[in-house]
Symmetry: C2
Subunit: 170 residues, 2 copies
Amino acid sequence: MKWKELEEEPCSMARTIGVIGDRWTLLILRECFLRTRRFEGFQSALGITRHLLAERLKKLVRQGILRRIPYQDAPKRHEYILTQKGLDLYPIMMALVHWGDTHMVDERGRPLLHEHRKCGKNFDPVMVCSECGEPLLAREVHTHPGPGARSPLAIKAPDKPKAKVRRSAA
Amino acid sequence: MKWKELEEEPCSMARTIGVIGDRWTLLILRECFLRTRRFEGFQSALGITRHLLAERLKKLVRQGILRRIPYQDAPKRHEYILTQKGLDLYPIMMALVHWGDTHMVDERGRPLLHEHRKCGKNFDPVMVCSECGEPLLAREVHTHPGPGARSPLAIKAPDKPKAKVRRSAA
DNA sequence: TCTTACAGTTCTAAAATTGAACTGTCAAAT
DNA sequence: ATTTGACAGTTCAATTTTAGAACTGTAAGA
């Protein structure tokens, strides 16, 4: 499986991973949400090599996640700004942060707190069902093929253990 | 910045990325949520090289995201099962899927629909504030350093443009 | 005995990433 | 007038990762 193919798989998660699923891209996006906009800003905040940074920024622009906007003419300089498509990545970012807050903090506690302007409180992000508003649990969700389904990847029956005799160790 | 260091950064997102932030790991986790449990199952579903698969599975076990459980004795065979820590990745997976559903589907439509057992409807995941229940928008969230803050990475003031004269092109 | 299922390990070639230096424009300081 | 620094890249050799294929070993079933 080549990376280009990922974006064509009949699986929304694979396609998303094809676009933002590598470490530097995710870190660059973190910086975008922290309002970094310029090449040097990304480079010094992340310590990424300039080579890779240039490449990743280009890809994000090609994908319509960032827009490259001139802010100066001589010499030509540009800023990288999140498009709406990019802003829509926010729930992914928050989900990543929240898992880290839950499972990766040390004794010091969270590095960063999030305050919801609307209610004024520090919060955690909670993922709920758009239909009933209840929090989502993996156990309570069943998947079935949609109109764009094409391959077993999207359907995937549970790994039937092929009725083999189990020798000891249940 | 080396990858090992990522896990020690004072940023929950960086730490999470250090653990699950590469393409194969994310795809392996997708398979886990689709109930794949065995080496061959992952390998044939993903087309990942056996070498990398073995390595990634080991890492996920080390991180406590998967548990390696014997299901047969001779020859020794094991299954890889999500721990609670692993199951807690569900919101990340759903957020990835949902972004793909929104921005990466072709004319055919979604490859996969999700049904919420509790309410019986197909749904989209929505991220809301744990305190007031309102959907979260990037614009309405402000961050500030928590008890575990240590570096500018977690604080990061907006990229002040250094009061330079702007020549044309606002 | 031969074949298949399964879970890896080993090896070489190809691709991606790192690190460091280099290019070019312009502003400000010396 | 010359030097220095900010900025946004590009280039290139060296290193690290990943891909692809073959190989190991146990045991069941034909």
